[in-house]
């Protein structure tokens, strides 16, 4: 946890983290499609799916364009890799907020709709709060960048698992 997640792609075994991004991205795209199929459709419901797929694509992107060069050395300014961060986090959280509105209109999902909405807003607020003082190299809180990333995941991952378990119950009902 001392290093940013992207830094795990550095060094001789860095390819493991690249594959981890690719696998995670593919699984998140599959999960997004599952949510879309499992929640009652609405007129603009596909917007939530599009944002969630964008989030998964951001993870795949991070695996395809790591923050390391061919020698395994890590660079903080690799633009192609940096793009993956907003794709993953902004896309995913906007998708969650939009999807939560669909959930609110579906009796099978109503109980978790508020949790999904709160998670989406919490991660967005964290992103906004961290954009200036944490992310840019040289910013006052930049040494906490890796901890900040893990905090984002700590809010995001439990919600993903809770909604996936709910989806499993919906599928079995």
């Amino acid at each position: 946890m001392a290093d940013p997640i992207s830094a795990l792609a550095a060094g001789p075994s860095g390819w493991v983290q690249d594959v981890n991004f690719l696998v995670f991205g593919a699984l998140m795209i599959a999960y997004a499609i599952g949510l879309h199929l499992g929640v009652r459709p609405t007129r603009w419901g596909v917007v939530g799916l599009a944002f969630l797929v964008l989030s998964g694509a951001g993870l795949v992107w991070a695996g395809l364009f790591p923050s390391t060069d061919a020698t395994g050395a890590r660079w903080d300014d690799r633009v192609l890799h940096i793009v993956a961060f907003p794709m993953t986090f902004l896309g995913g959280r906007l998708g969650l907020i939009v999807m939560s509105r669909r959930m609110a209109g579906d009796p099978r999902w109503r109980r978790v709709a508020t949790y999904a909405l709160a998670t989406g807003i919490a991660v967005l607020l964290l992103l906004l709060a961290g954009a200036g003082p944490v992310r840019p190299p040289g910013a006052p809180l930049h040494p906490s960048w890796s901890l900040f990333q893990w905090a984002l995941l700590a809010v995001w991952f439990p919600c993903t698992v809770v909604l996936a378990l709910r989806l499993l119950r919906v599928a079995r009902a």
């Binding site: 696998v23 199929l37 993903t160 989806l167 499993l168």
Partner: protein, 46 residues
């Protein structure tokens, strides 16, 4: 027993088969949502 099960399967309306298949697909996609974060965090933390 297996013949009986086959007979039941053949008499089941196609719509029921479609619904069961649809549910299986959604269950598999839900499993991706559970496995994804667990695998990612596990690999990243090890």
């Amino acid at each position: 027993m297996s013949k009986q099960r086959d007979a039941e399967r053949h008499t089941r309306p196609p719509a029921v088969d479609d619904a069961l298949e649809h549910c299986s697909v959604i269950a598999a996609l839900a499993a991706a949502g559970i496995a994804g974060p667990v695998i990612f965090a596990g690999v990243a933390l090890v």
